[in-house]
């Protein structure tokens, strides 16, 4: 490897390490109180100490996120078909759905908790609410992005509606579907945490709330980092699936 090639690889990690070191030095020299901003080493120590709890709470939040996301897919995909392929479905449903999309879903969290009680369900329902629209809107747009000439080609072969759906519309909508999913999965983690903020005995949202109320700021930071890691992992899992499924450029 040449020097510029090595520099190219090394510079970015170095900058981040320098930033962490700067943070550490700043906290120590300025004697910033622990409850306000802990140093990176303190956060790492807290993460080690609470590792089993962090893991179990992470699993709870991840489960709520994935279940809600999958449920949102199961609901939005048939609805997207209905809107894209039935004139009546479109006329009746689409305005309502576009209006509902503008409701700040997070504001519904206390109500949803009231309706579904102190179980895992209110969190899952909130995740469904925040995931539902990005997937639906993108899939409908994907179905509609099918060029007329491709539809003409299918019609000229006498293809059935079923064949047109599976051979043409679904593959054509796949890139848009993944765009929707990637937007949704980021929202989904936020949704789960909001649900846990409102009422919960477990999950990373609950852990953050508890630790800050007890001035355990290092643990709160550790929980936030865990949350970030979950978010990133879920996003890249989807990106991996997308790369497996969408092997073409439109």
């Amino acid at each position: 490897m040449t020097f510029p090639a090595i520099a190219n690889r090394v510079v970015t990690p170095l900058v981040y390490i320098a930033a962490l070191v700067g943070w550490e030095v700043l906290v120590r020299t300025l004697k910033i109180p622990l409850w306000m901003l802990p140093a990176p080493t303190t956060i790492a120590a807290a993460a080690m100490q609470w590792a089993p709890e962090l893991l179990s709470h992470s699993i709870v939040t991840t489960r709520e996120t994935i279940l809600g996301f999958l449920l949102a897919l199961a609901l939005s995909l048939p609805l997207a078909c209905l809107i894209a392929f039935s004139a009546w479905g479109r006329k009746l449903l689409y305005p309502a759905i576009l209006a509902l999309q503008s409701v700040p879903k997070v504001a519904l969290a206390p109500l949803v908790t009231l309706w579904f009680g102190f179980t895992e369900w209110p969190k899952i329902v909130i995740v469904v609410l925040v995931c539902f629209f990005p997937v639906l809107v993108n899939v409908v747009a994907g179905f509609e992005s099918v060029p007329k000439s491709m539809l003409d080609l299918m019609r000229s072969l006498g293809a059935s509606q079923r064949a047109i759906l599976w051979r043409l519309r679904v593959p054509a909508a796949l890139p848009a579907f993944f765009t929707g999913c990637k937007v949704a999965i980021t929202f989904a983690v936020i949704g789960a945490v909001i649900g846990e903020f409102v009422a919960a005995q477990e999950g990373l949202g609950y852990l953050i709330l508890m630790s800050t109320s007890q001035s355990q700021t290092p643990l709160a930071f550790a929980a936030i980092i865990a949350l970030t890691i979950i978010s990133i992992l879920l996003f890249y899992a989807l990106e991996f699936l997308e790369r497996k499924a969408v092997t073409w450029t439109p």
Partner: protein, 256 residues
């Protein structure tokens, strides 16, 4: 029995401001089995509209259309279409694209695959069967579209400016290739083009259309020997027909 017979066929569109657009006709036309019909005419005169009616993709506003003696109401696999834009599916390989009709029509797998390989070899795409269309040049894409249109062995082929999007050199090469394939495969064809030389080079007959609403103003037989080659265009008959068509379209004599 003629492949196609049209009587008094017209097409009127409603544009988005609710105004009527007389796009076509009335058209009277009979196409016999095995003949190659070229169509030329000014832009916007209704050529594509006519092709879509013949394909059964759009209904006519008035008039009667018969295909093999029965009323023409919907598309059929017996009529193959090659669109101006190749319309290959980007998520399928070249071979899968060519096999699409077999897939839709549930034709026997092995025989279809054999035919696809034969057509791809004939058009020089043998080495690209497993490539995605995005890796092909414009001319290669159009050849793949030709293979797909031929797969189900259509008795009648419709071509809407199949080489329109290509550069002049590739266009000439592909038209000669199409002409050669034609002599080999022998089908009925209906070719729309804005290239008069291409129309004469390929056709047994050339239809000249008027400005919108498009009508057939001339139906000129092309009695040039086949197979047609590069040298065909130097034939005096070729030049004579070319002048005649130019005059019909542009209304003036051209010296070239």
């Amino acid at each position: 029995m003629p492949v196609l017979s049209l009587k008094g066929v017209t097409k009127v569109f409603d544009d988005n401001r609710g105004q009527r657009v007389d796009a076509l006709g009335p058209i009277d036309l009979v196409i016999d089995n095995g003949s190659f019909v070229s169509v030329v005419g000014p832009s916007g005169c209704g050529k594509s509209t006519l092709l879509r009616l013949i394909a059964g993709l759009d209904p006519a506003t008035s008039g009667t259309m018969l295909r093999y003696g029965t009323p023409l109401e919907s598309p059929t696999y017996e009529v193959g279409i090659i669109f101006q834009d190749h319309v290959l599916f980007p998520w399928l390989t070249v071979l899968q694209n060519v096999l699409l009709p077999a897939d839709i029509l549930s034709l026997p797998k092995q025989a279809s695959e054999k035919r696809a390989q034969y057509l791809l070899e004939l058009t020089g795409l043998k080495d690209f069967v497993h490539h995605k269309p995005q890796m092909l040049s414009g001319g290669m894409k159009q050849r793949a579209a030709f293979c797909r249109a031929m797969l189900a062995n259509p008795r009648f082929l419709l071509l809407d400016e199949p080489f329109g999007a290509l550069d002049a050199l590739t266009r000439e090469e592909l038209s000669l290739e199409l002409s050669r394939l034609w002599d080999e495969l022998g089908r009925t064809a209906f070719l729309i083009t804005h290239d008069i030389e291409e129309a004469i080079l390929l056709g047994d007959r050339i239809l000249v259309m008027s400005h919108r609403p498009g009508r057939i103003v001339a139906d000129i037989p092309i009695k040039l020997p086949r197979p047609r080659t590069m040298r065909t265009s130097q034939d005096p008959v070729f030049q004579e027909i070319k002048q005649q068509v130019r005059q019909l379209i542009f209304g003036r004599q051209d010296v070239s």
